[in-house]
């Protein structure tokens, strides 16, 4: 029976190929536009570190004075000050903990004939490699003693090692970064979570991966350039611009907490620490302002999805809705025009259900065709998004799940759109229509 209905549907659609084509195009446009935007949004809200993200947390303190008025810029309490970060680090209340900040440095390759270039990297404390699960290809990270001594050591990414030395095994060689020489002690496999959840949110979090890592203490000692927001609120200018100052926040801090008991304990520790600082007169705001964000919650808090992308999504969904209305109206008119044919079939003994299934098959056929063209249009849309210079654009790829989702959405949408017309048409009364003939 199904094959017969399929044949009927094909014949009916072929009777008016232009209109059928336009219906398929309309549903394809709607599906294509909305899938493009949903894919972009999906990519932007994706888990940057699957498997580890559930155990990573970022603590936040509120060291701002009571009367601090925001001038609309980034919130200074998004980052930590040097004394606070060092206190949390020394307390070692979490399984892993590290403080970090981004930096861009001029890199001079050792190989002759290569131009110097700027590269993005990170200043961090020793535990960052273990906490984020970076894999070492050669050598290893530095120790806490190196942190304390501000040792001139560096860990490079695979790409950077090859670029600088022409080979990945660069352990023991010297890398020229900025105006200093650093002994390479480890090379990690390229590591580029997207978005860069651990970076300061005023920088661009979908841009270049980190290619070098230096001990944070070296950056502070040598006053290396730091990317991202550095907010000071001290009264004298000296304290504001000092990286070690207690009145300037610029550090990101992450901890790994494996059980919910650890999370609760850490949260309590943050409040206790804030209360202690308040008692010392350093903090002025309530200690309960201290919070602990999980990785995904932190991304939501930072509102990483630009308003433009959200607006585009709404627009695409509105567009899909109008396309659906269009298909419903057209199918309804098309089915009702065949009232005569339907009433003859009804009079010959077809049940309402048979008519319903027959017409349902026809709308599903349009849905499959529309879904296929929608998929093609979405690929075209994503291709054009990838060619935009926006920083998130190059991530816009459709994975198999999204691909299957698109197709399911298309068929679901047009079958849904076909239901109302099919239901309306199967209620055609046989006798009346025959009489009218």
């Amino acid at each position: 029976m199904f094959a017969y209905y399929l044949g009927l549907a094909l014949r009916s659609l072929r009777r008016n190929p232009i209109l059928t084509g336009l219906m398929v195009l309309a549903i394809g446009l709607g599906i294509g536009a909305s899938m493009t935007m949903i894919t972009v949004l999906h990519v932007m809200t994706d888990d940057p570190l699957p498997g580890r993200s559930a155990h990573l947390y970022t603590p936040h303190l509120d060291p701002l004075p009571l009367d601090y008025a925001s001038s609309g810029g980034p919130d200074p309490s998004d980052n930590l000050t040097w004394p606070d970060a060092m206190a949390l680090l020394r307390a070692k209340r979490a399984a892993h903990q590290a403080a970090m900040a981004g930096g861009t440095m001029l890199v001079r390759p050792a190989q002759a004939g290569l131009q110097p270039f700027y590269a993005a990297g990170r200043y961090a404390t020793a535990d960052i490699f273990g906490m984020f699960g970076m894999r070492f290809e050669y050598g290893g990270g530095w120790s806490e003693a190196d942190d304390a001594d501000a040792a001139h050591v560096a860990v490079l990414s695979d790409t950077m090692a090859r670029k600088l030395f022409g080979r990945a095994d660069a352990v023991g060689l010297a890398a020229h970064l900025g105006s200093g020489d650093y002994r390479v002690i480890g090379v990690i496999a390229d590591w580029a979570p997207a978005p860069q959840f651990y970076a300061d949110n005023t920088g661009s979090q979908y841009s270049d991966a980190d290619t070098f890592f230096l001990p944070l203490s070296v950056a502070v000692d040598k006053d290396l350039p730091v990317n991202g927001n550095q907010s000071g609120w001290g009264k004298d200018e000296q304290a504001q611009s000092s990286m070690r100052g207690a009145a300037m926040s610029w550090l990101q801090f992450w901890v790994q907490l494996d059980t919910s008991a650890q999370v609760a304990a850490y949260r309590q520790y943050l409040v206790d620490y804030s209360a202690q600082q308040k008692a010392l007169g350093r903090f002025e705001r309530p200690p309960t302002n201290a919070t602990l964000y999980g990785l995904m919650a932190w991304l939501t808090h930072q509102n990483l999805v630009p308003n433009d992308v959200q607006l585009q999504l709404w627009l695409a969904l509105g567009f899909l809705f109008v396309c659906m209305l269009n298909i419903v109206a057209l199918l309804l008119a098309k089915f009702l025009r065949r009232s005569g044919e339907i009433s003859v079939r009804r009079a010959l003994g077809a049940r309402r259900r048979d008519i319903f299934v027959q017409l349902g098959v026809e709308s599903a056929l349009i849905g499959v065709a529309g879904g296929t063209s929608g998929l093609a249009i979405a690929q075209l849309g994503l291709w054009s998004v990838r060619h935009r210079p926006d920083d998130y654009a190059r991530l816009a790829q459709m994975d198999p799940v999204m691909l299957a989702g698109t197709f399911a959405l298309a068929v679901f949408a047009s079958v849904l759109a076909g239901l109302l017309p099919a239901w309306r048409a199967c209620r055609v009364t046989p006798a009346l229509q025959l009489k009218a003939q």
Partner: protein
């Protein structure tokens, strides 16, 4: 034209007609709001910067070694750049250019009293103090940028300070900043307060946009300091005829590297100024393209719906059209019948769409802080949809008018 028969036919096709009305309503509401967004974005990307955009080229240079003497380096560099054929003038600036995103802003106050109030409440709000952006550079900046000095004087060689260790003695402000600092007064000779320094206003330029945009009300708040850059990294701005820019950039890089090879002149960080401006508005231009594509797509789909439906109806009613023709209706009558029917359907959609448009606008205003949709977008949108409807229905209506009366006598 009799409306009665049209209305009674529509009543028989209630479901189909109301679906079309709904489609037109959504199209109308979305199109009105989206067109408004497009207009706003176009206004944003066409904001004038006040500088001779088409004549400027930019080259970044960063020295490697710390032992270099930046002042001597700059002087040699500028001489080498000015020697290039076609370069009319050249200056070195720290990094700030309009729309360069490299913004240093300072809290300044028009007088001592407001400074004191701002210090007490730790915020400039309500004190008359402002946060303008600062531009600096070597002598000749006004001329090279192509700024228009509307009052006062340009800097003299004595005015200049080197690096940011000391504040300069004098400043040139934009007209917008002058009006906001000293409303209704002559800004020349007044002193602005900055931390513990007093800086005398000696000149006013017509317009100079900030390096990064905030809100239109404060985007023109800029000031120029007679301050020479004193870091190993510096940005050279060259003014030339627009057609010379590519060659000047090429030759400029070569000249800088010839003057001192001990530096980085990254080819990716030298460009005509217009490219920097285009990059600043990249997201907006992308968005404009997307929004326009969405509007066109929506109108296309709606026109398709109208034409498709009319097409079905014409086929369905072929016999009754024949009868009408047989009993004396002219082709014009049939044509007008379908046109009126379409007018009514689209009209219904527009009424509903107007309400929807305001609903959407309200949601956008609260969610994305967009301004209110001006009322005149709605009549324009309505007119556009009516026109679109008439265009879409014309084909099927003409086909209907062509149905010969003899169809009435045939059985289907």
């Amino acid at each position: 034209m009799q409306l009665r028969p049209i209305l009674s036919t529509l009543r028989r096709h209630k479901l189909t007609a109301s679906l079309l009305v709904l489609q037109v309503a959504f199209t109308c509401a979305i199109v009105c709001n989206v067109v408004f967004m497009v207009v706003q974005r176009i206004e944003r990307v066409s904001v004038p910067s006040g500088i001779a955009e088409a004549e400027l080229s930019i080259i970044h240079s960063s020295g490697f070694a710390g032992d270099d003497n930046p002042q001597a380096r700059q002087a040699t560099d500028l001489a080498a750049l000015r020697a290039i054929r076609g370069v009319r003038s050249a200056v070195a600036v720290s990094s700030a250019l309009p729309l360069s995103r490299s913004d240093s802003s300072y809290g300044i106050c028009p007088d001592a009293a407001s400074m004191k109030r701002a210090m007490q409440q730790r915020s400039p709000a309500g004190t008359g103090c402002l946060q303008p952006s600062m531009y600096n550079g070597t002598a000749g900046l006004i001329e090279t940028f192509g700024l228009r000095l509307v009052a006062g004087r340009d800097f003299t060689p004595d005015d200049y300070v080197i690096g940011d260790a000391h504040k300069p003695p004098v400043v040139i402000v934009t007209r917008a900043l002058a009006q906001r600092l000293y409303p209704g007064q002559n800004p020349l000779g007044k002193s602005i307060y900055l931390d513990n320094a007093m800086i005398r206003v000696v000149g006013v330029v017509d317009r100079l946009l900030r390096p990064s945009l905030r809100t239109p009300a404060v985007d023109g708040d800029s000031m120029i300091w007679p301050q020479k850059p004193d870091r190993p990294f510096v940005t050279y701005v060259l003014r030339s005829a627009p057609e010379d820019r590519a060659r000047i950039l090429r030759e400029g890089r070569a000249a800088l590297l010839a003057a001192s090879p001990n530096r980085l002149v990254n080819p990716e960080r030298m460009e005509p100024y217009t490219e920097m401006r285009a990059r600043f508005f990249q997201r907006d231009t992308t968005m404009i393209g997307l929004l326009v594509a969405a509007v066109l797509g929506l109108l296309f789909v709606t026109a398709l719906g109208i034409a498709g439906l009319a097409n079905f109806w014409v086929q369905q009613r072929a016999r009754s059209i024949g009868i009408r023709r047989a009993i004396g209706a002219t082709r014009g009558d049939i044509l007008r019948y379908f046109q009126t029917e379409n007018f009514l359907i689209v009209g219904g959609g527009i009424v509903l769409g107007t309400l929807l448009a305001f609903g959407f606008d309200l949601a956008l205003m609260t969610q994305y802080e967009l301004p209110r949709l001006p009322w005149f977008y709605l009549p324009i949108g309505a007119l556009m949809l009516w026109l679109l409807g008439q265009l879409a229905v014309l084909g099927p209506a003409l086909r209907a008018a062509a149905v010969p009366p003899v169809v009435a006598t045939r059985s289907v």
